[in-house]
Each structure stands twice: as C-alpha cells, then as structure tokens.
Amino acid sequence: MSEQKTWRSLDELSSTDGFKEYLHREFPRLAGEWVDDEGRRNFLKIMGASLALAGVTACTKQPVEFTMPYVEAPEKLVAGKPLFYATAFPISGVANPILVETHEFRPTKIEGNPEHPASMGAANVPTQASILGLYDPDRLQTVNYLGEIRSYASFMSSFVGMLAKQRAKDGAGIRILTETVTSPTLFAQIQEVLMLYPGAKWHQWEPTGHGRRMGAQMAFGQFLNPVYHFDQADVVLSIDANFTGEGPGTVRYARDFASKRNVRDGVMEQCRFYAVESSPTSTGCKADHRVGMKPSEVAAFVRGLASAVGGSGGGGSKFFQSVLKDLQSAKGKSIVIAGEDQSPEIHALVHYINQALDNNGKTVTFTASLESKPVDQWADLQSLVLGLKSNEVDLLLILGGNPIYSAPRELNLKGAIQMAKMRIRLGQLDDETSEFCQWLIPEAHTYEMWSDAPAYDGTMTLMQPLIAPLYGGKSTHELIAAFTLTPEKSGYESLREYWQTKHTGADYETWWRHSIHDGFIKDSALPAVNATAKMITPQPVGSGGDGYEISFHADPYILDGRYANNTWLQELPRPVTRLTWDNAVVLSEKTAKDLGVTDGDRVEIGVNGASVQGSVFRLPGQPDGSIGLSLGYGRTRSGRAGNGAGFNVYPLRTVANPWTAVGAKVKKLGETYKLAAVQNHFAMEGREPVKSGTLEEYKKDPAFAQKESETAPKGLTIFPQEWKYEGYAWGMAIDLSSCNGCNACVVACQAENNIPVVGKEQVLNTREMHWIRIDRYYKGDVGDAESYFQPVACHHCEDAPCELVCPVAATNHDQEGLNTMVYNRCVGTRYCSNNCPYKVRRFNFLLYNDWDTESLKLQRNPDVTVRSRGVMEKCTYCVQRINYAKISAEKEDRKVLDGEIVPACAATCPAQAIAFGDLNDPKSKVSQWKREKTNYSLLGELNTRPRTTYLADIRNPNPDLGGQG
C-alpha cells in the first residue's frame, strides 16, 4: 500500500475552514477535540453502511439494507478509501512509531512508520495487536465511584474539593504513582503540579526494565540509554537478551541484526552469534552457539568474561575460551548485550566488557536516558509504601500500571494502599489495582489521545488520536491537568504548547503540522555521550544450595501482564514453547524426568516463603536444574480473556532479587492441566522441511539446498503441459536466515484478514485459525538442540492438490497464479485441507467470528469478508491489497510497481525476511531472491510447484567448537 500513504494529520484537517465549521456545528461542547461521541456514532453509521461486516450468507434473496450518508462529509474523506495517520504506540515509555490505517475513521490496522528510524515500516507483536486493545469490550467504560457510575464532571467537582484541602498543606498528602514517564509534555505537567504542591510526591514504578536502567547507573555513575548497532557487529554475544523480541528498539535491532545474518545479494559474510541463556528465547534460537546456563552460571560466566577481557583471569570452558577469542579478535566490531531480565550488576559488567572490547562508541553508543526522571524505581516504590504505611497520604493518584498485581508480595502494597484516604485510579480496565481504589477514571487508549514519547534512540515521536475516546476515556495529560490552574486543558493543548516552548526557528505552525504529519520530529535523536564504564566489584554469588534455580522473564507478548486481556496475544503461540493461553513451569527433559513429571502435570513451586502452582512444559534448551517462569499471567481482574489464563508468579519475586530465585522446591501435585500448544511435534523426522547449512558448507556448495532427491522428478506426469501466466505472476520468498520467529507476521495477518480467535479449547483440538504459522523445529539431541523457525502460509502451488479435489471449484487458480479460495462457494468438505501437504488451510468448524460485540466489529477490515461457520479459509497473499494496487495502477494506465504490493506479513516483518512481488518481472525483489542458490521449495519432491519458496537457513558456527551447537 506504500503508494497510498497519503495520511494527513487531523490537526491539519481541523485548521481548514470546513472542518472548523463542522466542529462548530456538530460538536459544540468540546471545541478542542476533533470529534465526540455524537460524531463517533455517525462514523458507526457509515461503517454499518459500508460492507465492513461482510458475511458469507447462503440466502438467495438479498436482505433490505440501508445507507446513512454523512449529513456533511468530512473533507478529504473518500468513503471506501483508507486513510493513514502517523502516531506511536509506547511500550514502557518507549515509542513504537506507526501508521494507523483507518476506514471512515475506524482504526483497523497498524503499519510501521517507514520514515521513522525506529520502525522503517515494521512493527513488533504488541504494537500490531494494540489495535485490538482499543476495541477491547472489557475496557472500563464509565467514571466510577465505589462501584457506582458517575460523570467525569462529578469527579472533577469532588476532586476540586480534595485539592482545596491539599493546597492548605502544600499538597503534602498527595502521592502520584505512574509508570516510567518519558513524555516530556507529561513531565512538564507533573513538574507544574509539583510546583503548585511542593509537598506532593511523585513515584514511578514498573516491574520490568530495572536492570537496564540501574545497570547503566552502576557502570557509568549516570543514567544512560544504550543504543546498539547490530549492522556493524561481526560478533554478538547475548546474555539472556531477547533483543529481537523485547525491550526498546527491538524492531530496528531485528532489522539490523538480520542484515548481518542473511547471506544474500552477493554478500557472503555473516556475523557470529553466541547466546548464553537461562531460558530459551526466540533470539537465542537463532544463535550459532546457544548454551543454556542456570542463572547463577550465567552470572559467573559474565563475571569471568569481564575479568578475562579486563586482562586478568582466564581458564573457563572451551566455549568460554572460543567466545573470548572471537570477541577479542573483533574488537570494536562486536556487541555483548544483557537481557531485560538480568540484574543491574550483569548489565554493568556487560557495559564494562563492551568498553574493554572497545565497542562503546562504535557498535554500542550511549545517549542520555529516555526517561524524563530516571530513578531507582524499586526504591521509589518502597518509599511510596513507607509513606502510605506512615499514614501521611490523603490523596493517591495511580496513573496506569497495575502495581497491586505486579508488586512483590513482601511490600504488601495491597494493605499499604488502603492506608491512603482517597485513591484515584486512571486505568483502561477495572483491574486488580482498581479493586482497591475509590475513584476509577477510564483511561484513553493511545489511539484516542494526544501525547509524545521518545523512540529507542530518543527520536521524539508524536501521538495523535485516531478516533474519539470510545468510552469518554481521559489521557494522563488530562488527568494531571486537573491538578493545575487549567483543569480543563486538553491533551492536545498541553502537547502543542509544550512543543511551542521547545521550538526554535520560525513558523511554528508549518513545523508542527509537518511533525504531526510525519508522526515524529525530524532528527531529534539524542546525541551520543561519551562515558566510561568502570569495572564494578560484584557481590559473591549467593549459591542457592540445593533446590532449583528460577529465572523470571516477561512474557514475550503480554509482557508484565499489561496486555493479558488481548485475545490475539493470548492465542498467539509463544515463539519457543508454541504455547497459547497459558504460561508454564518450563523444565528441561532431564529435570522433568528427575521430578517424575511431564507436560501438563501440575506442580507447586515454593521459594522465598511463597508458593505458586502451575503445570509443567518440557523445553529443550532449558538448563537442567532450573525453572523458567514468565510473568504476566494468572490475572484475576483483567477481563474475559486474561482472567484465569496461566498462573501468577509475581508472588515469588523479591525486592532484593526480582530476576532470579534460588533454592526453589518443586512438589508434584498429581493433577494435570492441559496446555494448549499449536505444535506438538518438534523433530523433523529426517524430512528437512527447514534446510540449513553452515557458512562454510554454503561457500563450498551454494546450492546445497537444491538436492536432486528433493526436487520433483521430471516427466513423471500425465499432464506435461504447463499453464502460462502472462501479465503478473505473484510469488513470495522467505529468508530463513533472517526470520527470528517473532510472530509479528502472524498477528499482522490476523488484524488484516479478520481472522477470528478460537479460544483454548479449540486450540487444544488443533483448530487454530492463523493463516500463517511459524513452525519451530529442533535438530540434534535434546541436550543442546539447535532450533529453526519456518513461517508457513499457503504456498499457492501451481499444481495445487487442494484445487483438484474440491467438488464445487471453490478453490482454483486465477490468471495470476494465485490459489483462490472462495468462501461463498465453499460447502466445507475439508478435502482440500486433507490434501494440502503443508496443512495451511483453516476451517471454521464453529462460528468463530464474533458477530455480536459491536466494538470488535469496528476493528474489522472492510476489504476482507468476515467468514462464517462451515467454510475453509487460508492465506490469500492479501489479495485485497493486490486488487487495490492493480486497480490504482489500471486507473493510471501503468503496471503495478515492484514493492507497491506488500502483504501484511511482509510489511510488518522487523527482520524483512519476506519478499513478495511479480515473478514475471526479473528485476523484482522476489525474483532476485528466488534466483539465490539457497532458494528451495518446501516438500518440492511432491511436485506441487509452490509459489512461496524459502532461502535456506545459513549459520556461522565457530570451527573451534566443532560445527554447530
């Protein structure tokens, strides 16, 4: 769709006379806002009129339908044409710059912002899924006081009263608890408040991200923000770092890293990637050498490395030695990176190692912290609790976050919070924390508010609303404004004014409009600062004695639990475990055997005086004697999707050491609880669906993936003649070296193609509906198996087995070689699925699509039929995008350009692992990829002649360590 990226800012829109008049007439009450509920309902109407909710109906007589045109059409809106607006989706304060596709002002789909350095057109999983969060039917829909519905006005009036009291004592009784604040506008507003109420205190806390923050502090004596440049690294060592999946900058990192991994376009080189992990991550699965270590061993390893690169010390395992050798031979061209779930100490040591390796300032640069006011958040939280306990808090304002759920047990936040006399909560859900607050204010979703936030490199990214708050939600800006002298000030005004103060140079108006239009402020990336990391003296390792070691990890998708109610994320298979709807007690094969448990057996884990119960999942690569636990599950008040999914491990964490626990006891409970994995068999059974080789092998024989035995025998057909495709011939190539299994493509596809969520029961019965899936295979023995990812969607075979067996021709080939699937012709014999060797077809066994929930209907893509019960469906190469591009091209009497059509999966892929285009055009990207020697067809021996092919997965193991693994 790149051609139509004609998104315009609503601000621009609001400045035009027509629109002013429109606002004036249609929405007299909120002049600042561009549209209110009335307006939204109007959008609903036209939405209802458009064919958005297309269903596969079998009735011959078309029911009478109505159309409700605007009373006055907003300018530039062309019914049926999507508009793209630039904004961002911040996760833990770090902006993910995006474009939002809207249909008649309904946000329906997220795309990356191609202009923005942090995105370059791609978006990660939580960002892709965020659109569903906007329409979450469980969102808090009204202002609420002690369970009674109130108006925002009534809140304000009583709030004013509270403030009056506070003003008397300089607001000494006021406490504000926020998540990490990075928005300069918000920070300015908070400062304003603290100015007005000198006695007031502001605390920040989030359960994750602490290690990165404090690590830098430890190493440099100041809060710095590390920025990695993987495109310049020849050797990468990851210490439990899932840098292509979690933390700031993942999208950009994934792209840069992939650029050093794929062997393509004449580039014969590859970086070498070592991973040391206490629990397998998707990034680690791509490593040339991945070694599982218990948390304590990881710490020891890093310390050893630190002293080794520092010159002192040596010895260590063969692996250690080779890693050291590689790193030192690549001084200034290597990266050592520590994971989000590592302690500050490890982070500090890693900074030191990078410095010793002369990487700092080259492959790793540092900028000032992205946070407006970086603090030791754990200390901050404790001081809040102290304040509460000492009964000095009258007015506690909790803005976002969910501390009661995620704070360590020992703090007993639940008890402490209730010491505050008045507790006000701004949140999107009536969640665990809201339970203990009197006033609940619905929080505006990111796509309903104005704000700003820095990207991973500090590039200042602006957010604009795409739809009026569905439930009259308020943004943090607006609630903070309530403290100030201008309590009614809108988020838009605050933002605009803040940047006015920052803007130097003439013509603020134009600059502002361009910035909003682009979604970020050009060249606002923070400058690199020079800083020297000092070697810290680590405390001695506290050996857990006997018992198991636990490593805690944020869930890759619902993170610390904040997205637990997002059904897309819940049903999105975890990249490594392939689990949906649950977290698990991750054990190694051996550990499980020792405990006499297997998948699904419930166990009780006791440590730090607390205990939780969960069910076991055996995972190759999990170090023996250790347990991997992911945060974010076991929510009790997250809404229909999150409640009861998985189990809550927060109680096991301590303030002293939130990342690991030692000396854990595991008790078998004798019960079982089924875990729903979308893939139950991980061995390749000697079939090599994923073809892989080392860089050496590749250099020896580039065509190693195209073995005779695995290509279709020629002339063994009774139909020798082939169909010719004049015009376009669409095809796809997927580079397995680049793919890091992040699943962004899966959720992007789900959003683009109205793919329903089926729920755990159906997943257990292997009826999930994702059109694209990322298969995960193991090679080698269970101990240190290598993992491989393979995205599989419909291959659009030229000799498609599925088409042959359909009795009603509901699936057949079109003139451009697409394997079409016609829902409204399908009678549902399911023979096509049986006969599909790739098993990529999906069947609506029941009525999976939600035809009732209004808010969910708003998200649907009007260009794709919403499938009903009893029909087959599958990947279409995003035919709606193909048709859109073809029609646009036809209207301009030209051919479709290469790159004009980008399927949802390819568009969002952070690693840029998917190429799509016209095979008849030898210059197209996909044709070039397919000419690569590594190009092979999956199950090519079946002579299905798929249009989707793969570039073999090339790895670059260290010869000293004997080939792979």
Binding site: R687, R767, D775, R825, N834, N844, G870, V871, L942
Partner: protein, 460 residues
C-alpha cells in the same frame, strides 16, 4: 434358468429342502406378509431400532445448530467418523447387487433364496451411507451444489474431484439397485395380489404389480431385461467402491495415495457385505422358520465367499505394508510404521485380528455349517471392517508430511450418536421390509423345485 445339478457330496444339503411344491413356497413366503400375525418380538425389535434411530435425529439436529465442530474432526484430520461410516455402509451395500447380479451371471442357483433380502439390505445400507457425505460438509444446506444443474451463478461442479465422482457413483448405484430390486419384485407382487384376501391389499399389491400376468411374451422380455440389468450392475458394483477408494487414492496423503486401493476396497466391500447378510439372515431364518429355504448350504456358500474375500483383503494389507517399505519413500515408510506402532496401533492390530485371523476358522466345515458360529464370526468381521476404514482415514491423516502439523483425532459423543443412529435407521428399514414385502424371491424359488422341470409328454 435351470439349476446346475452338482453331485450332492460337494454340497452341504440341497438348495431347497424336499417337500416343497409350487403352491407351498408361494404360501410359505407370501404368507409371512399376508397371513402371519404381527408378533411381539417383531414389534419390540422395531421399537428398539426406532429408538436408536433417534440418535441420528438428535445428532443431526445438534450438528445443524452448532456446526461440524461438534464432531471430533480438526485440522490434520479433516475427515473422521462421517467418512469412516460412509465407506463402511457403502461396503455393506455391496452384497445385495453382487449376489443378485454377479451370481446371476455365474448361474448360481443358490442365490435365489437370499438375493431379494440382500438387495433390500443394499438399498438401506446405501441410504445410510448417502447421508454422511451431506452431513459431514460444513454447510450441508448447500450440498445440492454438487449436482450439475443450471443456476443463476453460471457455476458448475468441478468434474475432476473424486467427491463428485462419488456423487455420480453412489446416486447411480442407488437408482440402479432400486430398479433392479423392483423389477425382481414384479412377479412376486402379482403373486401377493392374487393371494391377498383383503380388498385393500389386493389393490395395493395390484397397483404395484402393474398388472403383471405372467404372459410368456412378457417373461421373455423380462428375462432379457434382468440379464441386461445384471450385466450392467456387475461392473457398477465394482466401480462404486473403486470410486469410493479414489476419494483416497487420488489424494497425495501417504497411506491413501496407493494403487492397490480399488481392488482391495472392492474385496473389502464384498467381505463386509456378506458378513452383514449373514448377520441378518441367520436370525431371520431362525425366527421365520425358513431353514428349509435358506438352507445350511446357503450359509456354507456365503461362508466360503467370506473366507475368499478375507484372503484378498489380507493380501491387500500385506501389499500396503510392502509398498510402504518398498517405495523407499520417507512418508510412506513412516505412515506404515506409525500405523503399526503409533498411537492408533491397537486399532490396527485389532482389525488384523478381526479381518484376517478370525476368518481363518472358516477353513473348517464345522464353523461354516454352524449358524451360531457363523453369526458371531460375521459380527467380528463387521467390526473389523469398520476399524479398517477408521485406520485408513485417521492414521493416514493425523501424521502426514510436516511434523509441525501432526495432531490427534478423538471422536465426540455426537460422532457416536450419528453412527449408532444410522444403525438404528438401517434396522428399522429391515424390520419394516420383512413384514411388507416377500423377503425371498418366490418365482425364482419355484424354478428350483423338482416339479418345475419341463418334461413334455412324448405321445401326442
């Protein structure tokens, strides 16, 4: 046609016991329909069957309300019980036409006592079978799209799909069997018409008999037509299960994609068909005292056919296994190995026991001539043949090419409801049939009587 008189020693008794005359057979068989009072046993049996038939009603209703998802089918296993049952029933439906057509061509006199019954059974079995392809579709109300008829969409079925071949094969088979059956009934309906006492029975049978009066000129054309029908029905029988086997053989799924399927499906069909005939015939012959017409010799012969087909099926199994090994194809090899040792292995070995080992008992005359033993054996074979279809459908599907998409299949109660329901329907039809129509071809029996021989008086 004249019964070929073979020396009695190779027979176990005659085709029809002595002491029967032209009149007596008519009365005996016609009597069951016309005179015999409705017995408690019959009513009881009918009620039971009808009750079981309600499973089908409930199962189908729920299926239509909720969707195909109420069954156990899922993504690797797109087909489950429905197709298993379909193939099983169709197989059973092969005995009738086979007996009346092929044996007629082979001039086997002993068929006369059993063909009518077997044909009726065929019709009912095919009816049961016919329901499954419709029920198992995601949108059954659109099943008519499988027929080529001009429509406002200008769309037509896809003639390359084995499922469409099925539509043609099964509907043809049903039609031709019905026609064949009715043609066979004509003279007997006339007999009933002429022996009926109540007016309404006379009218009903009279109307059905279409005024058949046994004219020599009619008989001559009648015999021609029957012979032609038999000649056409014989390849038809073979073709139907061949086409059914194509549903699998044409696909690329390992375990389905094999050339041995047509012959070994047909053999399997005859096998299960004869088993079912035995299952039904033995009790009926008991209750209605037809031992003198359906004699031990019939049972013995059917047992022999059963044994023969059992051996063919056994050959089929061994060939499958051999191909799997000999093809040197990863997927084929694995499929066979998985079938024998995988999660569904028990079913495989039970089916080997039922279909290959147990029938070996039929080598012994003692077993062939004991109605009770034959009855038990036929039940075993029926179960075995159902399992065979289950193993073919499921073990091939649940683990095919990409290990990532392997999965398991577990039937739900609704699968069972529909399956048992069709059994109920089948039995209901059988019970009604034996009461309202002569279950044995009277006029053909007559030809077996010694008195039926033409001995022209020499002196004129």
């Amino acid at each position: 046609m004249q019964p070929v008189e073979l020396p009695d020693k190779i027979h176990v008794g005659p085709v029809i016991d002595e002491g029967h005359s032209l009149a007596s057979v008519s009365d005996k068989i016609g009597g069951i329909v016309l005179k015999r009072r409705i017995t408690l046993g019959w009513v009881f049996g009918l009620l039971i069957s009808f009750a079981v038939l309600q499973n089908l009603m409930a199962g189908a209703a729920w299926l239509f309300i909720k969707g195909i998802g109420v069954w156990g089918v899922n993504i690797p296993n797109g087909w489950g019980f429905a197709i298993v049952n379909f193939v099983w029933w169709i197989g059973i439906g092969h005995a009738g036409t086979l007996i009346s057509a092929i044996l007629l061509l082979l001039n086997q006199s002993w068929r006369n006592a059993i063909n009518r019954f077997a044909e009726a059974m065929t019709l009912f079995a095919v009816m049961c079978a016919g329901m499954f392809p419709v029920l198992h579709t995601g949108r059954p109300w659109l099943a008519y799209w499988l027929f080529p008829y001009p429509n406002t969409m200008d769309l037509w079925p896809q003639m390359r799909s084995p499922l469409l071949w099925d539509v043609f094969a099964v509907s043809t088979y049903l039609t031709i069997s019905a026609v064949f059956w009715f043609v066979g009934l004509l003279p007997d309906l006339a007999t009933l018409r002429d022996s009926a006492k109540q007016r309404w029975k006379q009218v009903v049978f009279g109307a059905l008999a279409m005024g058949w009066r046994g004219s020599a000129r009619h008989w001559q054309r009648y015999e021609k037509a029957s012979l032609l029908l038999a000649g056409l029905a014989t390849p038809l029988v073979v073709s139907v299960h061949t086409v059914v086997s194509f549903d699998f053989a044409v696909s690329i799924v390992p375990g389905w994609h094999t050339t041995i399927f047509p012959p070994y499906f047909v053999a399997g069909a005859i096998y299960s068909g004869f088993a079912m005939v035995l299952t039904l015939m033995i009790p009926v012959r008991q209750f209605y005292g037809l031992q003198d017409i359906i004699t031990i010799r019939h049972l013995n012969n059917m047992a022999k056919v059963t044994l023969a087909t059992a051996m063919i099926v056994a050959y089929g199994y061994s060939m499958e296994a051999f191909f799997g090994y000999f093809s040197a194809d990863t997927y084929e090899k694995f499929m066979i190995w998985n079938r024998m040792t995988g999660p569904y292995a028990p079913f495989y070995w039970i089916l080997i026991l039922c279909n290959i080992l147990t029938p070996q008992l039929l080598w012994f005359k003692k077993n062939r001539t004991s109605p009770f033993r034959l009855f038990c054996l036929s039940i075993v074979v029926n179960i075995g043949m159902w399992l065979e279809r289950f193993v073919i459908v499921i073990t091939s599907l649940h683990r095919d090419f990409l290990p990532s998409s392997w999965g398991m299949y577990y039937p739900t109660i609704w699968d069972w409801a529909v399956f048992t329901g069709t059994l109920g329907m089948f039995m209901t039809c059988i019970f009604l049939f034996i009461r309202v129509l002569p279950m044995i071809t009277i006029f053909e029996l007559r030809m077996l009587l010694p008195g039926a021989r033409v001995k022209e008086p020499v002196a004129q």
